[in-house]
Amino acid sequence: MSGRHARPDMNGTGNESDVTTAIPMVAGGSASGSTILQASGVTMQFGGLRALNDVSFGLSEGEIIGLIGPNGAGKTTLFNCLTGLYAPTSGAVSLRGNPMPQDPARVTEQGVARTFQNIRLFPSMTAAENVMVGRHVRMKQSPLSSLLHGPSFRRSEAEAAERTEKLLAFVGLSQFAGELARNLPYGDQRRLEIARALATDPAVLLLDEPTAGMNAQETEATRQLIFAIRDLGISVVVIEHDTKFIFTLCDRVLVLVQGELLVEGSPDEVRGDPRVVEAYLGAPPDEVDAQIHAAEDEGENHR
């Protein structure tokens, strides 16, 4: 790991065995800790297609949940339901016991931030500006003060700039602050998206395939980054195809197959579950297929 990825806030060493030993501790904490995000019976119907069927789960404070499943299982759809982008056909999502608003902007205000499967940065803005946009909901600036640039405006801008600087340092992108987002390498774009999401001061962070297209080294760095985020007290839900990544990262793993929650449990339980092996892991050719589909999806989304 180069200095570029050094993170002051991290306390773990990023060793795989350390992480696995750490899991029971956190899991125990989650048992006693309060549930921050709760999905109950979420069902999503697109015309004749039932993308999600009665999905329920809870996310505790400081927990990392992995969401896996074959392509088309409804993982991203579930994210969209959790962030207010889609209104579930039935079922409910609540945040700290309050119903989740049906508007992505207000969901973010409430403290749920996300990244996207196909990176959705603001390509013609610099890295720093992208993160500044993330500060939008936490900044107090009326249109009038935006216009007049008075002292309170300058204070809030300075505060946002400072946070931006820290966040960029946190994800290891300080030296690219002035670079256009579109010109960053792929892995850095993913990290920038995470920094932008963190800028909204979330309690829950939803990461949609944060390591897609990354090499082993970058994947490892991302894992360390997610731990560091968790150590900030932020709960994380991760969608990922890379099961090895998920099993070494998460406290709990949910397996979604054809819109249904098939298995839920610790990485070890899920890894050993025959249904999962059958539906997902035991069929390596399928996984290859899934990777292809994922790539195609991405191509389509680029339009």
């Binding site: 962030t83 982008l85 508007d103 992505p104 902007a105 207000r106 973010t108 205000e109 931030a113 996300r114 996207f116 990176i119 959705r120 940065l121 603001f122 390509p123 013609s124 803005m125 610099t126 500006e129 500044m132 946009v133 993330g134 500060r135 939008h136 909901v137 900044m139 600036q141 249109p143 935006s146 216009l147 007049l148 640039h149 405006f153 809030s156 801008e157 946002a160 670079e179 256009l180 579109r182 010109n183 960053l184 390498p185 792929y186 850095d188 774009q189 932008r196 909204t200 297209g213 991405e298 191509g299 989304n301 680029h302 339009r303």
Partner: protein, 589 residues
């Protein structure tokens, strides 16, 4: 576009270039030869005949084209460019090729403009070759010189403009900036007045103007390549507030230059109106990315509000309010309409929104023509709107300060400069704020913006509201300056002109809209002799500008990076596959 196409375009950024590469060893020679040819061309006669007829014999003669050694006008420009090319070819400076290429294009432009003009006026190629025993090959020799310059410059490879890191003391930098802006001011005045005012008295004004433009363009391209302009630009960036103040003063000083005539003051005031409106439109289109095809309606609303509150006899309201108050009311009313027009953005996206705005523009024109509510005067419009008055001084009068006699229209000019400055200030402040970033985020990716907590609906409506307010502000001025508020001033063509000004100038930039509006007004005014073809040329100009400079004259700093010229390749990190993919996506949005 796939990543496959991106690679070669970057590879091509390197100097070697097809068949021109073979000439690489001879570049210096070619450049000197080109320079010498240019000089020779400048001293040769250009026309085979002398036309002494015409209403103003002294002005209408083609003598200045045929006089063998008279070095004035475009021939002086040629001499200067030619000499400069030779000097650059001999002296060791960086980015030689690029500098000479700029000069070369200038020479080509001058030769073509003048040669073509003499040909057309003279009735055939005989006019610039040989006829009736006289020979005049100046145009051809100069043209060849220009081409040789460009070829010689390009063959040696084109380096990026030199980057000067020189930093001087604050006072010295201030002085340099002061001089630079003074030169800009004089240059603007010179461009405006080049060729005289046209009409019967200056029958060659169009050609002289275009030729001058070519010379200035070539010189600027050369200076840019030398790094001087970039250096000054960075210097002005370091002293932003100082620069803004000096620029404002320079703009206010325009009436003191040769362009300080009533005519140019009137044109400049009109440019100002359109510039202020275009800056408002720039918020909607350039920042928030919402296409508006009926924007001139807000200018119209401002104008009609002001007309009705001006005490003009034809207005039904018949109240007369002080002008500053009228400005505010006009802005507020236009802003309210802006919010109404913008409200479909809550549900309608992209081009669907464009057609909604177009529909609104059409509704406005039709309603104004039909004198809706008696507020617009209908086909008779609202005439005789009194001029703005301050301390009993009508703004349409001429001003005498001591020995200085300024033409009428100067006060309006000063007023509009202040208005434009205020509007620019509003735009600049908003752009660099939470609101401005939210607009840009919406432009870049609306869904992602919402995921970042931006309530896109109200923010988009705010863009329309503020943009419309700025247009309404300008509209109030417009009504008083023109003295008439007529629906005929606010038709679709005017919306197109505004949009073209924004895009021509550079979307999302502060000086862009002003520059775009200036070009779209000054060019038709300077080329009035082609009256029948004005609209045709306007249409063709739009096509050509979009073809060759779709990012506008002054691209946004961000877009500049995104549309970087050949040599300024993206920074150090390699472009791997997926990153190329995202570039594509952004280009398509």
């Amino acid at each position: 576009m796939t990543t496959i196409e991106k690679a070669p375009s970057q590879a091509l950024a390197e100097p070697p270039r097809g068949r021109l590469a073979a000439l690489a060893p001879y570049t210096s020679v070619l450049r000197i030869v080109g320079g010498v040819l240019t000089l020779v061309g400048a001293f040769l006669p250009w026309a085979t005949f002398v036309l002494n007829d015409g209403p103003y014999p002294e002005g209408a003669t083609l003598e200045f084209f045929s006089e063998p050694f008279g070095v004035s006008g475009f021939r002086l420009h040629l001499v200067l460019l030619g000499l400069a090319s030779i000097v650059v070819a001999l002296v060791p400076v960086a980015a030689k090729g690029r500098i000479v290429r700029g000069f070369g294009w200038g020479v080509i432009a001058i030769s073509i403009v003048n040669g073509l003009y003499i040909t057309v006026e003279g009735g055939g190629f005989g006019a610039i070759t040989a006829s009736d025993g006289t020979a005049a090959f100046g145009a051809f020799v100069a043209l060849v010189g220009g081409v040789v310059l460009v070829v010689g410059a390009t063959a040696g490879g084109i380096d990026p403009p030199t980057h000067w890191d020189l930093k001087l003391g604050r006072v010295v930098e201030w002085l340099i900036l002061l001089v630079a802006y003074a030169i800009v001011l004089l240059l603007v005045a010179a461009v405006l007045t080049s060729g005289g005012q046209g009409g019967a008295a200056n029958p060659f004004s169009g050609a002289v103007f275009l030729s001058f433009l070519g010379a200035v363009g070539g010189a600027i391209a050369g200076l840019h390549a030398s790094g001087l302009l970039g250096w000054i630009a960075r210097m002005s960036e370091r002293h932003r507030i100082y620069s803004v103040i000096v620029l404002l003063l320079a703009a206010l000083a325009l009436p003191l230059t040769s362009a300080g005539t009533e005519y140019w003051m009137t044109v400049a005031a009109n440019i100002g109106v359109y510039a202020a409106t275009a800056i408002g439109l720039n918020i909607v289109v350039g920042l928030a990315g919402l296409l508006d095809l009926g924007y001139v309606a807000f200018l119209g609303i401002g104008a009609f509000v002001a007309a009705n509150l001006s005490g003009a006899a034809a207005s039904v309201v018949g109240i007369e309010l002080p002008f500053p108050l009228v400005l505010v009311i006009a802005a507020v009313v236009a802003g309210c309409f802006g919010a109404v027009v913008g409200s479909p953005t809550l549900r309608v996206r992209g081009d669907y929104l464009a057609i909604v705005t177009l529909a609104f523009g059409e509704i406005f024109v039709r309603s104004a023509q039909n004198n809706i509510g008696g507020l617009t005067g209908g086909s008779n419009s609202i005439p005789n709107i009194p001029p703005v008055e301050l301390f009993g001084k009508g703004f349409n009068e001429s001003v005498t300060i001591g020995a200085l006699n300024l033409p009428s229209g100067v006060l309006y000019y000063v007023l509009i400069v202040l208005i434009v400055a205020a509007v620019m200030w509003v735009f600049g402040n908003l752009k660099n704020s939470r609101l401005g970033r939210a607009w840009i985020a919406i432009r870049e990716d609306e869904d992602a913006a919402r995921a970042m907590g931006i309530r896109t609906g109200p923010i988009k409506i705010l863009a329309f509201l503020i943009g419309a307010m700025l247009a309404g502000f300008a509209g109030a001025f417009f009504a008083h300056k023109l003295g008439t508020a007529s629906y005929e001033s606010f038709r679709f063509l005017e919306s197109v002109t505004l949009l073209a000004a924004v895009i021509l100038g550079g979307m999302g930039t502060i000086p862009g809209a002003v520059l775009g509006a200036s070009v779209l007004f000054v060019l038709p005014e300077k080329l009035r002799e082609f009256a029948d073809y004005r609209l045709l040329l306007f249409g063709l100009a739009l096509v050509l500008i979009m073809r060759f400079r779709p990012q506008g004259l002054v691209p946004d700093a961000h877009r500049r990076a995104e549309l970087a010229p050949e040599s300024e390749a993206p920074p150090d990190h390699p472009d791997d596959g997926p990153a190329g993919g995202t570039t594509v996506k952004a280009a398509a949005t």
